[in-house]
């Protein structure tokens, strides 16, 4: 019998929800009480499954720890897994993203604040700074989003070991095709209305999240600060797919882990009104790569004034994958029918920063 484990990273700690039927859940936590849990990775590429967690304490700084027994015990590298070299003059503020490399089971990527990309060759125990991106001449012009300046998305390509996409607010999308040696911006077609001197710049766009299509690695979806886009050339040029949506604003986008052209958004009314459209908490789903959209709200509350952050949604790895998201008022919802209906997994937690799920045999 399988077990699904839902990692819920919040402003004040990590909870793990466990279920064998994905209907009744047992909550385990908090781990790392009073720390902002900003990134999670269930790494199933080798046995046993390793859970990596990036978090920060407002007093005691950032930490990255891992567990090889799904949260029973934790390991922290004594010197810190991620350390900016002395010559950079920089200090780690937080690890915003952890991503498993699809080619090498020892390699884990991390995106951090300040804007930097890191690579681990030992399953996330120690990381090296990617100098190609750190030394990029644009770096000093990358701005900070409301939550800080960070690489929040890292998407290594499953079809090309040399290809990785990263995204940041507010710097936009950057791509490498040479194994992370050199990086070029990939923002053509993404509108930057907030830059009135040049609304179509080479970089500086406020991309909130990018997801890769499971069947076609060159197809990507981006939820932007005003705008939803698709790229069919691996993140170089983008076309709007916002027609049919109630709003073009939101923070997160999730692609289906086994079904082509299928993606989920959690829309927010606008950048000036960060509440659900019509105060109805809802998910928008497309099954045709953004040509059409369905509003999904069965089981989700109305008169609702919360929202969902960029990493606070994810899917498990079951044969029929479940979709999960957590809100800023600490509710976590699950759907095991592709978004047709939702049920509550947890309530009254701190505001949810990240959600990741895995289904294990």
């Amino acid at each position: 019998m399988t077990e699904t484990i839902l990692g819920i990273g919040t402003r004040k700690g990590l909870w793990l929800a466990r279920s064998r039927d994905r209907r009744s859940w047992e909550l385990d936590g908090p781990h790392f009480l009073m720390s902002e849990v900003m990134s999670l990775l269930f790494d199933t590429r080798t046995e046993p499954t390793r859970l990596l967690v990036g978090f920060r304490s407002s007093h005691w700084g950032p930490s990255l720890q891992h567990s090889d027994d799904l949260g029973a015990t934790w390991v922290e590298h004594p010197d810190g897994s991620i350390r900016f070299p002395e010559d950079t003059g920089a200090a780690l503020q937080a690890t915003w993203q952890l991503a498993a490399d699809p080619h090498d089971p020892a390699v884990v990527w991390a995106g951090t604040e300040p804007h930097a990309l890191w690579r681990s060759d030992d399953r996330g125990e120690t990381f090296s700074l990617n100098r190609g991106l750190w030394d990029h001449p644009h770096r000093t012009q990358w701005g900070d989003g409301a939550g800080g300046g960070a690489i929040h998305t890292v998407l290594p390509s499953p079809s090309d070991p040399g290809s990785v996409l990263v995204a940041m607010s507010a710097g936009g999308v950057y791509n490498t095709r040479d194994g992370a040696q050199s990086w070029t911006p990939g923002n053509t077609g993404i509108h930057a209305y907030f830059m009135p001197h040049d609304e179509w710049p080479e970089f500086g766009q406020c991309v909130h999240k990018v997801a890769r299509d499971v069947a076609d690695p060159s197809r990507l979806y981006a939820q932007n600060h005003r705008g939803v886009y698709r790229s069919d050339d691996e993140g170089q040029t983008w076309q709007s797919i916002e027609e049919g949506l109630p709003t073009n604003f939101g923070m997160t986008v999730v692609s289906h882990p086994s079904r082509a052209d299928t993606l989920f958004l959690v829309p927010i009314a606008s950048d000036g009104e960060r509440v659900p459209p019509g105060a109805q908490l809802q998910v928008q789903r497309s099954e045709d790569a953004g040509k059409t959209w369905q509003t999904l709200s069965n089981g989700l509350p109305g008169d609702c004034y919360t929202n969902v952050l960029r990493d606070a949604a994810g899917m498990d790895t079951a044969d029929e994958p479940g979709f999960y998201f957590g809100t800023r008022n600490g509710d976590v919802f699950a759907s095991t029918d592709g978004g047709e209906s939702f049920s509550l997994v947890a309530a009254q937690l701190p505001d949810v920063l990240c959600v990741r799920a895995v289904t294990l045999p």
Binding site: M34, S58, H59, G61, D79, F84
Partner: protein
Amino acid sequence: MTTRVVLPAMLRELAGGAAELPLELPAQVPLAEVLDLAFEPWPVLARRVRDEQGQIRRHVNVFVDGEDARREQGVQTPVRPGATVHVINAVSGG
């Protein structure tokens, strides 16, 4: 004379449960050196107090004989033999 580095309760488990770390300083040295010496056996504790560039974290206060080091010379604040160094979580953050 023994120099004392006094830890807040929240960090003591990272120093094997010790409430304070004693040091014998041969002469006056900068605060950075005191923290290096006191935390040398406890690298995780060291990272909770200072970042990888050696700077005291924003919401941590370190007092040398009752004076906030941030208002003195930061990690270069001189520490005399026999001084008391308090590490305290600031009443901020959270």
